[in-house]
Subunit: 407 residues, 2 copies
C-alpha cells in the first residue's frame, strides 16, 4: 500500500491529529466494557457524525505487543517490518538509534566461577535495585568506550536490565543482527557465546563477545551482578519516514520514552511535554499546531490500568480524555482520529487480540451508524472491521491528501 500511496500524494495544508489511547479496547465487566461504562459525551457525538469501525492490529486472533501495534497504525505492516526487542528496549530508555546501530537487551546476572568457566546462579542478578544497576553500569562505561573501532554504550534500565548499543562506522547490512542470545535460560548452566547465524553478523558477534569478556572482568568483584547476558540483537528497522511515505511533516506529543522512540523511528519530531498527563500533551499540541501536518497524540494510562486489572482506573482515564476533545476540536483539525493501538481488557490484565474501536472525524464521513463510541457501537459504523495498516490511507484520503488512482 505504501508504494501506491506514495504515487498518489498531493500537497495540502490540512491538519491531522491521531489520538492513540493505548490498550483502548476492552471486554465486558458486569455487562459493559470500560469504554461503554465511561461517560464520553464528546466522543459519542463525534462517533454519531463520524466514520466508525474496529481495526485489527496485526491479524485476527493475534495479540500484539506495542511495537507491532504501533507499526500497523503508522501504516507499516507488522508482519513485514519488525521492531526487534533490543531496539524496543533502547527506545524505551530514550536512546535514539540510527542505521549504524545494533541494539541489544541485556541483564546483569550472578555467576560463580568453576575454574575459568562462569556458571549462572541467578539469571537476573538478584534483581538488584535500579540504583545499583546505575553504579555498576557506570563502572563499565568508565573502562569501555570502543572495541575494534565500534562505539559501545551501556544504558541502565530498571532493576537488573540494561540496553547495549554498538555503533559502527557505517550502516549495517541486513542480517547483521542475526545473532543468538547468550542467556541459556537456565540456572546452573554456563552463559552461551553470542553466535552469528550468518556471515553478515560475524563482526557484530565478535564485538559483543569481546564486550562481555571485558565487562565481566570489570564487575567480577560485584556480589549479585558480576556477569552480563545479552539477547534480542536487533538492527534499526529501515522504515521510510512519514515525510517520504506520506508527505507529512509529523510530530508527537507522546510523553513516554518507548512511544517517543517508535515515533522517532518513523521520522516524527519529538515535541517537549511538561509531564505525562493528557493535559500537558494537549498544551504541547496547541503550542505547535501551526508547525506540523500530523500529530501523534498518545495516552498511556488506559493500557497501564488495563494491565493492572483496574477497570475503573481505565474508565476514568477515558473520561478525562473525553473532556479534552472540545479543546482539541477548537484547533479545527481536518481529520481527528481516536483509537487504540490494541485492546487491554481490564478483566484480562493483559494485551489481547480483540479488534480496537476506531473513530474518524472529518467533513467527508457518512456517519449515522454508531450511536456512540464503544466496541459494540463501532461495529455498526461505516468502516466495519479492517486491518490497522489501512488507518493511514483512510487518514490521508479524509484529509484530501491523495490523488485519484488511475484515470
Amino acid at each position: 500500500m505504501q508504494e501506491i500511496i506514495r504515487e498518489l500524494i498531493q500537497p495540502s495544508d490540512s491538519k491531522i491529529v491521531l489520538c492513540v489511547l493505548d490498550g483502548l479496547g476492552g471486554l465486558p465487566f458486569e455487562g459493559k466494557t470500560e469504554l461503554e461504562t465511561a461517560s464520553t459525551p464528546n466522543l459519542d457525538g463525534l462517533a454519531r457524525s463520524g466514520a466508525c469501525g474496529l481495526h485489527i492490529p496485526v491479524a485476527r486472533g493475534i495479540t500484539p505487543g506495542s511495537g507491532p501495534s504501533h507499526l500497523g497504525l503508522f501504516g507499516y505492516d507488522p508482519l513485514k517490518y519488525e521492531i526487534g526487542r533490543g531496539v524496543l528496549e533502547a527506545l524505551g530508555l530514550g536512546i535514539e538509534l540510527t542505521p549504524r546501530d545494533v541494539a541489544i537487551r541485556g541483564n546483569f546476572a550472578t555467576v560463580k566461577y568453576d575454574g575459568v568457566r562462569p556458571v549462572i546462579i541467578d539469571r537476573r542478578g538478584g534483581r538488584i535495585p535500579t540504583e545499583e544497576n546505575r553504579r555498576i553500569a557506570s563502572r563499565i562505561r568508565e573502562k569501555i568506550n570502543t572495541i575494534d573501532g565500534v562505539k559501545v554504550s551501556i544504558t541502565s534500565g530498571m532493576e537488573h536490565r540494561f540496553a547495549l548499543v554498538l555503533t559502527f562506522p557505517e550502516p549495517l547490512p541486513f542480517g547483521a543482527d542475526d545473532i543468538s542470545d547468550t542467556d541459556p535460560q537456565k540456572e546452573g548452566k554456563s552463559p552461551l557465546r553470542p553466535t552469528a547465524r550468518r556471515k553478515e553478523a560475524e563482526v557484530v558477534a565478535s564485538v559483543a563477545e569481546k564486550f562481555i569478556n571485558l565487562a565481566a572482568d570489570i564487575i567480577r568483584d560485584e556480589k549479585a551482578a558480576n556477569y552480563l547476558l545479552l539477547r534480542g540483537f536487533s538492527l534499526y528497522p529501515g522504515l521510510s519516514p512519514f515525510s517520504e511515505a506520506y508527505g507529512l511533516k509529523a510530530a508527537t506529543t507522546a510523553a513516554y520514552p518507548m512511544y517517543r522512540g517508535v515515533a522517532k523511528l518513523v521520522g516524527m519530531e519529538l515535541l517537549e511535554v511538561a509531564d505525562t498527563s493528557t493535559k500537558s500533551e494537549v498544551e504541547t499540541l496547541k503550542r505547535h499546531f501551526k508547525e506540523f501536518d500530523f500529530f501523534y497524540f498518545h495516552v498511556k494510562k488506559t493500557d497501564s490500568y488495563g494491565e493492572d486489572g483496574n477497570y475503573w482506573g481505565k474508565v476514568k482515564v477515558i473520561e478525562e480524555f473525553d473532556g479534552f476533545i472540545p479543546e482539541i476540536l477548537s484547533l479545527n483539525p481536518d481529520v481527528l482520529v481516536v483509537t487504540g493501538d490494541h485492546s487491554t481488557p481490564a478483566v484480562m490484565k493483559a494485551h489481547s487480540w480483540h479488534p480496537v474501536p476506531f473513530l474518524l472525524h472529518s467533513s467527508y464521513t457518512r456517519g449515522g451508524g454508531s450511536l456512540g463510541f464503544s466496541e459494540r457501537e463501532c461495529l455498526k459504523g461505516e468502516l466495519g472491521i479492517f486491518r490497522a495498516t489501512d488507518v493511514m490511507t483512510l487518514i490521508l484520503s479524509h484529509s484530501r491528501r491523495l490523488n485519484k488512482f488511475g484515470a
Copy 2:
C-alpha cells in the same frame, strides 16, 4: 499465518470443541433460512453472549467442495493446499493414505474393440449396480497385486466408481501425481494414455498404464464394465499435523469416512462412534473428553438434506443438534465453536458460496451484537465477515494458547 502461530503457541490445558454442521448456511424459503426457521434456544443463547460472525470458506463467491472447506476451517489455506480428487475419493471410501501413496479416481467403462483399439461406448459402464462393481473389482484384485514392486489396491465405490491406490516403497516426490486423465470425456473416442507431465511422474504413469492394460484384459469378457478410466491422480497432501501446527492433541467424533479421512490428514485421532447419529458423537465426545485438547465434531445430515432440497429435514437436524448443546456445555469446554464448512441451501439443492454462520463461545467474548444464531444475526456479531483460515487463530487465542506477537 501458520508460521506465525507456531512461534506463538504456549502450553495450556484448555479444551476446545469445534462443531461443524455440514452445509449449515442456507437461503430463505418463504422468507426464512433453515437456521432462522429452526427453533434453537440453546444456540441463540450462546450467540447472544458469544462472538458471532460469518466465515468465507475459500473466497467471496466461490462454492467450495468438502475438501477445501474443511482445509480452510482447519487453518490450511485451500488456495495453497489442495486435497486432490483421487485422495478425496479414497478418503471417502475409508482408505488411509501415506506419503508413499498415489490415489486415483477410477470408473468402469464400456468399450468395443476396433481391432486392438478400444473405443468408448459408455464412459460410466452402464452405471452398473454397486454389487456388480464389487464382483468385478475382486476379479481384478485376485489377479493383480503388485506391478514393478508397487502395491496396487482397487476399492469399489458406488455404481461404476472405484478408487485405485498405488503404494510405492518410498515417499513420492512433489509432482509425482502430475499425470493426465485417461478419460477422453467423449463417447466414440479411445481412452487416452496416462501421461506424465513432468519427470517425477513418469514411474507412476508407467505403473498406471500397465495396470490399465492388465486389468482390461481380465475384465474383457464383462458386458457393461469391460474397461477402466483413471483420473485425478493425486498425492497425499503434506499438511503439518495439528500437534505441530497448533500444539493441539486433536481427535474427531466424525462418523462418515470422508470426514474421518480429512481429520486423519491433519493428524487427528479417529475416535470410535457407534453410528452416524449426533447422539453417538456426543457420547464419544464425553467418553474421550479428558484425553484430548481439541475435538472436531461433525454433523453430516444438514448437508445431505440441503442437497436433497429437503428444507424441513435440514431444519429438524439443526433442532436436534441444538438439543445436545447443554450436554456438550456440561463438559465445560473453554472454547465451543458452532459453524458449518460451507452453505448448502435447500432451495439450491447444492453447495453454495454464501458465507457461513459462525459462533464462538468462551469467557473472552464481547457479545451482545447478535440476538440469535442465524445468517442475519451473525452479521451483527463482533467478528464480522472473515476468511475460514482465521478460524483456528480465533480458537487458539480464545483458548489462551497464543503468546503475544512482538514486544
